[in-house]
Symmetry: C2
Subunit: 450 residues, 2 copies
C-alpha cells in the first residue's frame, strides 16, 4: 500500500497531515490532501514532494469516489454525517477507512460488509473518543491481567486553555473545538452507574450538580459535569458487571454555575426561532426571557439576577455581563434560535487568541480489588498546545489517526471490520508512539482499606 | 342530508351522541355510531330508533370508507393522528367532516380540495379548541363593530374538579381529560406577546412563573401557566397588530409549584427509558434522580427536598409524598420513560370518582380603547358536570360538534373548505344554542383611565 487520501484540511487536520507527510518519505507514500478550500490544502501540504493538494466538494459523489479509488487508506476528517457515504464508497472500492468521529448505528450496520471484504473501518480514533478508549482499556486490561476486579471507573476529560491566557476572561474558557457542540453539551439526560444503581441527571440540573475533582499540578479543584452516555461504555470496555461507572467533562472552577444560568434563562435552546431576532438587542433578548415584572424600577439585569437567585454582582452575573448579554448592541442573525444567537456571541468572546496555548486534561480513576485489598488508581494526562495553529486538541485528535494509518499501511493491523480502538493490538502500539508527542499518563495509587 | 356517522363512542363522545340522537327524530336522521368496542357503542345508542351501533376498527381503511360512503356528515372523535386519513376519505367520497381536534398542517394542505368539492371540514369545534375560539371571536368582533381598538387579550381555561370533591387530594387536581397531555403539558417553550414584545418562557421555568387570576365566585385566586402557542392566534383572530396576547391553563392554587417539582426532578421526561423500571420501587426511582449525596444519614425524601430547595414537610413535598413517590411499592412497567411511570401513577391517584363533579372554567380578558377611554372587559364561563359519566368536559367538547352537525345537516352553514369556528355565521348560532346548556359568559367591565 502506497497511497493515502486525507479528506479535510481544516484546523483539526493539521497534526494529522504533518504526521503523515513526515512519514511519507520514509515509507515512499503518496499523500493526497483534499479540501473544498484549495488554498488551505495547498498551504498544509507545503512543498512536500510526496504530497499533493486537491480541490474537492465532498458532497459530489463522483469526484469523491474518483479520489478514493486511487487511495489504499482513507482518513476522513469530514463532518460526521458524511462518514456513511464515504464508508459505502470504501466498501465498494475496497479501501480502508479511519475517522475520529463516533461510530454511528448506520456505520455499525456495515460491519459484516467491511469484515467480509477484509477491510478495516477504524472509528473513534482521535482524542475523545480515541485516546480515552485506548488509555482506559490499557489500564483495564492490565488490572484484569493482574487478577484485579474493577469496582469503579470514572473517566473525565476537557479541552481548556492555559490559565495565564484567561486572566481577562471571567469564564476561564475559550473554544478549542466545535463551538456548536459546546453550546449543545449535555442536552438530553446524563446517565451513569453508582453502586450498582442507575442514575439520571436531567439537563435542567446537569450544570448545577457538577462534582469537583483534583488534578495533580493544580492548586484548585476542577468541575466535572456528567456526560450523557456513560452506560454505553460498559459493554465496549468489557465492564458489564461494574457497579460504578461515569464519564464527565472537565472545566475550570466557576464555569458550570454560569453555564447553568444560560440554561435556566433558555439561551441554549435550539428548537425554535426568536422572531425578528436581528431587530432586537441582546438586552431586549434577555428581557424577552423575563416573564415576571420584578420590583418597580428594576433593570433587566437586576430582574435576570433575581430570576436566577443571584445578586446583581455575583460571579455568575459578572460572567453574563462580560458576554455582552445586557448590551444594547443588535443581534446579527434574523430568526435565529437562542442557541445560535448564543453561539455567535460566544464565537466572538471565546475566540482563541493566536498566541493562546490550549490544554488537554484527561483523568481516569479506577477502584479495584486485588488480594483482599482495595485500591484507588488515578491516571492523569496533561498536554499543552503551542499556539492557536498548533493546538494540543488538533494534535491529540490528528496524531492517533496518522499513527494508526501508518500501522495499517505497513500491515501491522489485521482485525478487519468496524472497530473502535479497544483492542490491545491497536492501543499498545498507538499509545507507545504517542508518548513521544507528550501523551504520558501519570499514575497515583493508594490503598483504600489498609 | 339524512345520514350522520359518529366515529368513536368513548367517554368523550357521550354528549355528542346524545345530542345527535335527540335531534334525529325531529329531523328524521339516521345515526350510525361506530367504535372498536361494540358494547360501548350499543350502550350509548340505547334503544333509540334512529340510531345504530356498529363495530369498526378505524385503522382498516376499507371498513372505514364503507361506513363513510353511506353518511352525509361525519363527526370524528378518533385520535387526532387519524384525521388525515378520514379527511382523504371524505374528499374522495364527497362528505362533510367535523372534529374537535387541532387542525394540523397536513389537514390545512387539503383546504383547496375541500373547497373545490364544496365540502366543509370544520376542525377545533370542541371546548378548547372550540368554545374558546367562538366566545373570544364574538367578543372581538363586537368590540371592533363598536369602533373599539383591542390592545390586550388574554384567554385562559382549565378543566378542574369541584373543590368539595378534592378535600383528600392535596394537589386539588384529577384527570377529566387525556392524562398523557397533562403529563406533557408545556414541553417546548411558551411564547406570548406583552406590550408589543415577544416573550419566551422555557419549560424549566414554566410552572415556576405562573400568574394569578381572579375568577368571580371564588375566594382564592387561580394559577395560570402560559400555553406554548399564543402567537398562533394573532392571525386566526384577526389581531395582527395587538401588542399583548397570551393564552394559559387554569389550575387551583398550589398546583404549579408542585408540578414544577416533578419537572425539576425529571419525572415528566418521555424521551428515554428507565432501565428495568419494573425491578425498582418509586423510592428507588427518586433515588436514581439524586446525584448529590446529601448530608450524612439523610433519607431520599430529605435529599429530594434539599435538591428542590423545600423543607421536608412543605406543601410541595406533601404533594409528592401523597402520590406515593417515596413508597417502596414496585413500579409496574418495564423500561418505561419517567413520563410514563408518572402517568401510570397519576392515573391511579388522580382518577375521577364516580360521583365527582368536574368544572370547566374559561376566562377572556380584553383591554380596548374606545372614544378616548380605555376599558377592561372580563368574560367568564363556569360549567359544572354531574358525575364522572356526564362531565362538563365531555359536554362542552361534544355539544359544539353536535350543534354544528345539525346546522350543517339543515343547510344553515355554507362556507366550504377547511375552517375553525372563528366566523360569525358559525359562532353566533352555535353559542346561542349552547346557552341552553349552561354555556353562559358573565361579563365585568371597568374603565381603566377614568
Amino acid at each position: 500500500m502506497n497511497n493515502i487520501l486525507i479528506l479535510g484540511a481544516g484546523r483539526s487536520a493539521n497534526a494529522c497531515i504533518q504526521y503523515v507527510l513526515k512519514n511519507a518519505k520514509t515509507y515512499n507514500w503518496s499523500v493526497v490532501v483534499a479540501d473544498s478550500d484549495l488554498e488551505t490544502a495547498v498551504k498544509k501540504v507545503g512543498k512536500h514532494t510526496n504530497g499533493r493538494a486537491v480541490w474537492l466538494d465532498a458532497t459530489k459523489a463522483e469526484d469523491r469516489q474518483d479520489l478514493i479509488s486511487r487511495a489504499d487508506v482513507v482518513i476522513s476528517l469530514l463532518p460526521p454525517h458524511m462518514h456513511v457515504d464515504v464508508a459505502y464508497d470504501c466498501i465498494r472500492l475496497k479501501k480502508h477507512l479511519i475517522t475520529a468521529s463516533y461510530v454511528s448505528k448506520d456505520i455499525y450496520k456495515l460491519s459484516d460488509e467491511f469484515r467480509n471484504s477484509e477491510l478495516i473501518f477504524m472509528g473513534e480514533m482521535g482524542l475523545d473518543p480515541g485516546i480515552d478508549h485506548m488509555s482506559a482499556m490499557q489500564k483495564i486490561d492490565e488490572i484484569k491481567a493482574r487478577g484485579g476486579k474493577i469496582t469503579a471507573f470514572s473517566s473525565n476529560a476537557g479541552g481548556l486553555v492555559a490559565l495565564e491566557n484567561l486572566t481577562k476572561n471571567p469564564w476561564r474558557y475559550k473554544f478549542t473545538w466545535n463551538p456548536r457542540n459546546v453550546v449543545k453539551a449535555g442536552q438530553g439526560t446524563a446517565q451513569y452507574l453508582e453502586n450498582g444503581k442507575f442514575k439520571y441527571i436531567p439537563y435542567n440540573r446537569l450544570f448545577k450538580e457538577y462534582k469537583l475533582i483534583e488534578i495533580p499540578g493544580y492548586d484548585e479543584p476542577f468541575e466535572v459535569y456528567a456526560n450523557r452516555d456513560s452506560l454505553l461504555y460498559r459493554e465496549a470496555y468489557g465492564l458489564d458487571d461494574i457497579p460504578t461507572l461515569s464519564r464527565g467533562t472537565i472545566r475550570y472552577r466557576g464555569f458550570c454555575d454560569a453555564w447553568n444560568a444560560l440554561v435556566q434563562i433558555g439561551l441554549t435552546d435550539g428548537t425554535y426561532p426568536i422572531m425578528d431576532s436581528d431587530k432586537i438587542s441582546y438586552h431586549e433578548l434577555m428581557e424577552a426571557f423575563l416573564s415576571k415584572p420584578g420590583r418597580a424600577g428594576a433593570s433587566v439585569k437586576e430582574r435576570v439576577a433575581e430570576m436566577l437567585g443571584e445578586s446583581e454582582f455575583s460571579p455568575v452575573m459578572k460572567k453574563l455581563d462580560w458576554l455582552g448579554l445586557f448590551s444594547k448592541k443588535k443581534i446579527n442573525t434574523p430568526n435565529a434560535t437562542p442557541a445560535l444567537i448564543l453561539e455567535e456571541l460566544l464565537l466572538e468572546k471565546w475566540k482563541l487568541g493566536s498566541k493562546d496555548k490550549d490544554v488537554i486534561l484527561m483523568q481516569h480513576e479506577f477502584e479495584y480489588e486485588l488480594g483482599g485489598k482495595k485500591f484507588q488508581l488515578t491516571s492523569t494526562m496533561k498536554l499543552m498546545g503551542v499556539d492557536s495553529d498548533d493546538t494540543a486538541m488538533a494534535r491529540l485528535v490528528g496524531l492517533p489517526l496518522g499513527i494508526f494509518a501508518k500501522f495499517l499501511m505497513t500491515n501491522k493491523i489485521v482485525t478487519a471490520g468496524v472497530n473502535i480502538p479497544v483492542l490491545k493490538e491497536i492501543y499498545d502500539p498507538v499509545l507507545e508512539e504517542l508518548k513521544a508527542y507528550g501523551v504520558v499518563f501519570q499514575e497515583q495509587e493508594r490503598v483504600l482499606n489498609d
